[in-house]
């Protein structure tokens, strides 16, 4: 999209395909397929087809009229897709969802977002832009220790495992809860892992070990108490 007006016809074709194909995939898997079910209302089929028209029209006009193209290809397409889902109601209920198709649909929507995103053109150097503000290059304030990678990896692997474990829950209501809890836990694990990884690089600025242990004493004591109660419960059972 950056500098699109100066692109050659072949580049424009590739850019249009990048916008259209992921959206088409997302539309087929998550909008068209449920709307084509026998139990789907006719209004949902109409909005699904209108979403397809908006999806195709956006990339067609985006180079000539960028604002209109984005409005059609992104905003209107998403709005009509959401309207279709609202009209479908129970047809896309949790009990009717097929995990693999739903996952592929989510990937399709992510690719759709990337397709409409703007990236720097290959080979271009930002500093060569005529509008660039010349200044001294910023030097990094610190360097991460090699162990930061391992610490972050622990959080990342833990987050992925938690997300995968959520797919083992088969009861519909609990499965939804499990996925919600897994997403929250995964975000928390990755965030804390990043903080630990980064802060360890600045360990010299930390206060003495005693205040650090004191700060964590309350949650640690609660954990120990809960573990002790768990043992008692196991022995009494």
């Amino acid at each position: 999209m950056v500098g699109a007006e100066s692109q050659s016809p072949s580049h424009k074709l590739v850019a249009r395909a990048n916008m259209l194909l992921p959206g088409l995939y997302a539309w087929v898997t998550t909008v068209a397929f449920p709307a084509a079910q026998r139990s789907a209302p006719a209004s949902a089929r109409v909005t699904a087809m209108a979403a397809l028209v908006a999806l195709v029209a956006g990339p067609v006009v985006v180079f000539e009229r960028p604002r209109l193209g984005r409005a059609l290809g992104v905003l209107l397409f998403v709005a009509l897709s959401v309207t279709t889902w609202l009209l479908l109601r129970s047809v896309i209920g949790v009990q009717h969802l097929e995990p693999v198709r739903a996952s592929l649909g989510a990937v399709g929507w992510a690719l759709f977002a990337f397709g409409w995103g703007a990236v720097r053109r290959a080979g271009s150097v930002p500093e060569e832009d005529p509008h660039v503000i010349r200044a001294e290059p910023l030097t990094p304030r610190g360097q991460l220790p090699w162990s930061a990678l391992w610490v972050y990896s622990i959080g990342l692997v833990g987050a992925v495992l938690v997300l995968l474990l959520a797919w083992q829950v088969v009861r519909p209501a609990q499965a939804l809860l499990a996925h919600a809890v897994a997403v929250v836990a995964a975000i928390a694990l990755v965030s804390v892992a990043a903080r630990i990884a980064v802060e360890r690089g600045r360990a010299r600025t930390f206060p003495a070990p005693k205040p650090r242990l004191n700060a964590a004493a309350r949650p640690l004591a609660t954990v120990l108490l809960l573990i002790a109660l768990g043992f008692v419960w196991l022995m009494l059972r």
């Binding site: 009861r171 609990q174 954990v223």
Partner: protein
Amino acid sequence: MARAIDLLSVLLLAAAAVAFGLGIHSLGARRDLAALYWLVIGALVLRAATDLLRPKSSSR
């Protein structure tokens, strides 16, 4: 000592991941109370790992 506490915070991070995993596994095994138990432990362990890094923000 400071390095030992750093190591402890990493171990607590790993323990939190295990606790969250056990919590969700228990949910799948129809043991809702055990799931709640492990999820609470996971959250507390993660909080402890953060508090070990930033003592000032957690001191009241």
